[in-house]
């Protein structure tokens, strides 16, 4: 008899209970830290080679890693060495012509 009364009360107030759970959920969601609010990023560089080497080291439980890269500090990645060399020589020639009396 008591049980039926309790169930009856719950059913009568289910809307209020649902509203309460909804309110708690929505408050929790909006108070939780948003991912896009994170200003700091994991250790991340433009070097894919480093990312791969570190991931591999971590996977194997090692602290040391090694990789090779064509990124030249202070210069960047030279995708076409021959073109870079030709441009360097061309600039040299132009400068020489300018400096000549």
């Amino acid at each position: 008899m008591k049980m039926r009364k309790i169930i009856s009360i719950i059913v009568d107030n289910l809307l209020a209970i649902g509203l309460f759970i909804f309110a708690v959920g929505i408050l929790s969601y909006y108070n939780s830290p948003r991912q896009n609010a994170v200003s700091s990023l994991p250790i991340k560089t433009s070097l894919t080679e480093r990312d791969i080497a570190i991931a591999e080291a971590v996977k194997n439980g090692k602290k040391e890693y090694t990789f090779t890269t064509r990124f030249i500090p202070g210069v960047g990645v030279i995708t076409d060495p021959e073109t870079y060399k030709k441009e360097w020589e061309q600039q040299l020639q132009e400068d020489n012509n300018k400096k000549a009396p």
Binding site: I21, P42, I43, E89
Partner: protein, 221 residues
């Protein structure tokens, strides 16, 4: 159950489900942030050059002799990456060029030689000796030296130009043959900086020796 009661039950259940979904996603968000906090944070990196590529070249004229040890670029970097807040060490790295043995350019046969030297690892150009004076057979020597070669014992002064260290090498303070860096990993011998001779302002020799590849070893902390 009355109709209104049924509606209240359905709406209440729907609201409860929606509430649980919001709770679930807010918990997941926090979990992702925790994972990020463990691995990621603001950081600063310092790059210290510990070894330099230097060049020895004649390239001038009238028995200018060999001008030596002018640095043209970095051959080894020590990289230290720390958290921006607190300064805890995250990574250290050493960046090395594929070889660190002397590389010699011989203009007689236009070859580059050196222990472990592989032409595919470098971007190079060499133009030497247009004035015909060629001590050491006109050879150009690229050396790998610690940063201590930048000992500021030498000073060249001409007009407004004052250069300390080995950034520029001239036969004398007022001479016309000076070896100096030219951009990244390049060099030139500039003729007649001070003289008013007929060859004033000519580049008498030049070269480029840029690493196209780096070998990096690192440690995670």
């Amino acid at each position: 159950m009355a109709v209104t009661q049924r509606i209240r039950v359905v709406v209440g259940a729907a609201l409860a489900v929606a509430g649980f979904l919001f709770l679930f996603f807010s918990t997941r968000n926090t979990a992702q942030l925790t994972a990020q906090a463990q691995t990621g944070q603001n950081y600063t990196s310092t790059w210290e050059a510990t070894k330099l590529i230097t060049v020895d070249s004649a390239g001038g004229w009238r028995n200018v002799g060999i001008l030596r040890n002018v640095p043209i670029g970095v051959a080894e970097w020590q990289v230290d990456t720390r958290t921006a807040v607190g300064g805890a060490q995250l990574l250290t790295e050493t960046w090395r060029t594929p070889t660190s043995s002397e590389i010699v350019y011989n203009p007689a046969d236009q070859t580059l030689t050196g222990s472990g030297f592989n032409s595919a690892d470098w971007i190079f150009a060499n133009h030497v000796g247009i004035f015909g004076d060629t001590p050491d057979g006109g050879r150009v020597r690229y050396k790998f030296q610690s940063t201590s070669v930048l000992n500021p014992s030498y000073k060249y002064t001409h007009g407004d130009a004052k250069v300390g260290g080995n950034a520029i090498q001239c036969r004398s303070n007022s001479d016309s043959n000076c070896l100096m860096p030219r951009g990244s990993y390049g060099w030139e011998v500039y003729h007649a900086l001070g003289n008013l001779g007929s060859d004033r302002g000519r580049i008498s020799a030049s070269g480029l020796m840029m690493p196209a590849r780096w070998i990096v070893t690192g440690t995670i902390y």
